[in-house]
Point group: C2
Amino acid sequence: MHSQNLINIITDALPSLNKSESKVAQVILSDPDAATRSSIATLAKKAGVSEPSVNRFCKRFDAAGFPDFKLKLAKSLVSGIRFVNRNVDPNDDVDGYTPKIFDSTINNLALVRDKISHSRVNQVVDKLIQAKRIYFFGLGASGSVARDAENKFFRFNLPVSCHDDVLMQRMLASTGTTGDVFFIISHTGRTKEVVEVAEIARANGSTVIGLTAPKSPLADISSVTLDVEVPENTDEYMPMTSRIVHLVILDVLATGVTLRRGPEFLPHLEKIKNSLKPTRYSKDN
Amino acid sequence: MHSQNLINIITDALPSLNKSESKVAQVILSDPDAATRSSIATLAKKAGVSEPSVNRFCKRFDAAGFPDFKLKLAKSLVSGIRFVNRNVDPNDDVDGYTPKIFDSTINNLALVRDKISHSRVNQVVDKLIQAKRIYFFGLGASGSVARDAENKFFRFNLPVSCHDDVLMQRMLASTGTTGDVFFIISHTGRTKEVVEVAEIARANGSTVIGLTAPKSPLADISSVTLDVEVPENTDEYMPMTSRIVHLVILDVLATGVTLRRGPEFLPHLEKIKNSLKPTRYSKDN
DNA sequence: CAGTTAATGAAAGATTCTTACAAATTGGGC
DNA sequence: GCCCAATTTGTAAGAATCTTTCATTAACTG
């Protein structure tokens, strides 16, 4: 549905462009927003090329013509990566890095939104609904994701727990049986301990759901895998976004479970919500 | 920076439109995406009105003309609230709720990105840099956010800890002194226990940073507040997005601290990263 | 360096959009 | 119910914008 960001596509294609095409690209990349507002004549003049060159440029990037190109460009400018270089620069100040980090997170979410397999989501919801018990496992940064999952899923009146201790994980995995679901969260999917825990769990007939990188050892051994492909952060300054993506996916799963439970389950959720009221200062003071 | 969604604006204006204008509105709202791709003639025909009527319609909604209108409409369709009703519907299936949850998260992030005070972020980075000790406090869902923060900030070689136990929080707050930073995370900012802990900490001369809702009791008592205004989720099916926003803000802060530390700090981060290598299966097998 | 291929732009043509103006409709006021 | 003013709507011409064709120029190859 969503393709990659047009601006990135143009940037990537830059080296393979010929003279006039690259002139056009330069002008567009230097101020994409202005480009969406100008006519083909204006843009051609600014780039020092003819109108047909601009038109050809547009067609090269899978647009029907110039107007269509402007439309696609405009779409690329919203919310996604909004500028050519969105990496945090060592010289950035607050005004620099703050929006960049938001943008890169947003961008990754949009990517996963368009790539995630809905049928897999459905499968996982199935497993969670049928589970006798659910364990959320994670280490390091994924530990807090697991914890958040626990905090979300206990609401479904199911025996849920979360563990970020390798030994606990091992022991629980080894005592698991059919009907137990081990939901294992791992950014890389290559941490040995985690993979071993998954192996143990499966050997005992439990269901293992992996929220992890595609084609990783953990993905291979899981009963169902929710692949999340988030680009590795080679940039030292950029935070790891996969945690955030994992959390949103867990939100999706929780919503899926709620919907399956049907409307007669809502009062239960309401009760939990209300239980917290006495702990709060009321809003009108 | 971000204006309100065009589709919502049109929907709201619907009752005040005259006959042909509302015909145009109907056609656009029924399939906004198609509208961005069609010519004024096509659209006019579909709506059963003349071309100038469509043109007038566009101008009524602050567009220079039809092409400009299409551009603005296209922007409205991306990433943000992409449709009239983006709430999860009890009858939604996976294909329905999955993108909706991503979209609503993305939308909230974009909102906060455009609203967050950069000078506040800078102030908080200052405090964190100067801190002798940092405590991250949170309860419930904010507990796992605090935990994530700990996992991020220990890398700075500072005494950092996180606590989700009210009694621990109280005790630590009461023993805090000048130079200690209590970073308190709370969605509502109205949980009594949390506010009291903040009061105790301040009374002892510690710095309290509140990552919470604006104008809340916690915000009032904090030394510095990072306001996060995320719409209350009245919808039973929609997850709480503030956690995610909080995490991204903590990412921003961590980046701010890293940058302040300067490039000579990078080897330290690298060391931590490398320490995990032996725990992983290598990538080429 | 000739011959071929690719790249580019001029100009005409097609399409799309906008404007001016006239016709039609609507809504009071008598 | 009828007239007049105000508003709404459409026709048609005109303007702007975009696309195509084709000739020219540049680049590459043996």
